[in-house]
Amino acid sequence: RSKRRWPLRKEEYKRYGRQLIMPEIALEGQLRLRSCSVLVVGVGGLGCPAALYLAGAGVSTVGLVDGDTVEESNLHRQILHSTEKIGMSKVDSAAEQLRSLNPLVNYVSHREHLTPQIALQMFDRYDLVLDCTDHPTSRYLISDTCVLLQKPLVSASALRTEGQLMVLNNPPRAAGDVTGGPCYRCVFPRPPPAESVTSCGEGGILGPVVGVMGVLQALEAIKIIVAGIPKPFDADRNIDISTVGREEASDASAPTQDPPSLLLFSAYTSPPFRSVRLRSRRKDCMACSASATITRASLTSGSLDYAQFCGVVNPVSVL
């Protein structure tokens, strides 16, 4: 009984008091945050601020994925790292800084580039994923994995003076369930030609531009967590997917979703922000439709070649 009356520890009331007193969060929202594990894929210009505000808000676990080490040219925008950490693994550098902000959160280090072979197993222990990477190959891989595991995905990108943000696969329904949110392939069924893809290293990036997008990713993640993420359908039970989908869709307790949208940001345009409406799930989507051809087996076996799909001529690491 006393546990029910004081479900948080005294230090948690203190630390999270300013968000707890808001009706949008309240005790129930804080408990949902405390039991939610979030995976941040990419600990660069987007991942640094996103991870900081997720750790600050008190999620259960922040997982960090990145195979790179800190470089001097990162530091104008990758604000979790610091000069003395040049050469250190980005994941370790970030975890150390995050722990000093909030030691009540668990931090899991994945010091490796994301590959199709490891993605399913890695994502499986998290409830929500942030795509903070910088290449189409990783964007397709992350989206496919989130669809297979029914995890909502907050995807952002930035280049030069512009940024883009989408919440994908939300609600995270099973493939074939038309009430689920669109995935990355629904919006972009075909990858861009390789010559049209510019990285921040080539094109440049203004620090606060990518910073704003990363903070907004944390905000969207917090909103999804606090609203309640539905438990994924267990594929091993082999229940007819369409039935499960319909049952979930008629669940009156499920929070209503905003229609899928894309937020555009442009630092030198007036007005700087613009929201546009996206399509719903694509009937012939390779990943999330009833006729999906991407499966756990095809992902794990490596039969899906994301680099080739995206027309990468010189093989690069996926992340």
């Binding site: 660069g44 910088d134 930035a158 075909r190 990518v210 894309l262 442009s266």
Partner: protein, 105 residues
């Protein structure tokens, strides 16, 4: 029916660099295609390529006679797939936004 449709065409995500580095264009589009049918998005894309785009790298905007993969087309702030894709018939004062997806992070 008037001879031209006054519309606004915008480019973002780097596409503006292919269009004289200008994001917002006021376009007077012929209201009928060559064959007499009402102007569609497909016609607008051809028109932009032929009459507006000075950059020679057409392949960064079109592929197989439609916008290349990685470009979202928004008709009055909604994904063109909600409006009939390139068969959508353009109305006066429409706002057509072409967004190239960014990948940096």
């Amino acid at each position: 029916m008037p001879d031209t449709l006054d519309i606004t065409v915008e480019f973002t995500g780097g596409l503006e660099m292919l269009f004289s580095n200008q994001r917002k264009h006021a376009i007077s589009l012929p209201s009928r295609e060559e064959d007499g049918n009402p102007a569609t998005i497909a016609f607008l894309v051809r028109y932009l390529c032929q009459s507006v785009m000075k950059d020679r790298r057409k392949e960064l905007f079109v592929l197989d006679d439609t916008v290349r993969p990685g470009i979202l087309v928004l008709i009055n702030d909604a994904d063109w797939e909600l409006e009939g894709e390139d068969k959508y018939e353009i109305q006066k004062r429409d706002n057509i936004l072409f967004v190239s997806t960014l990948h940096g992070g």
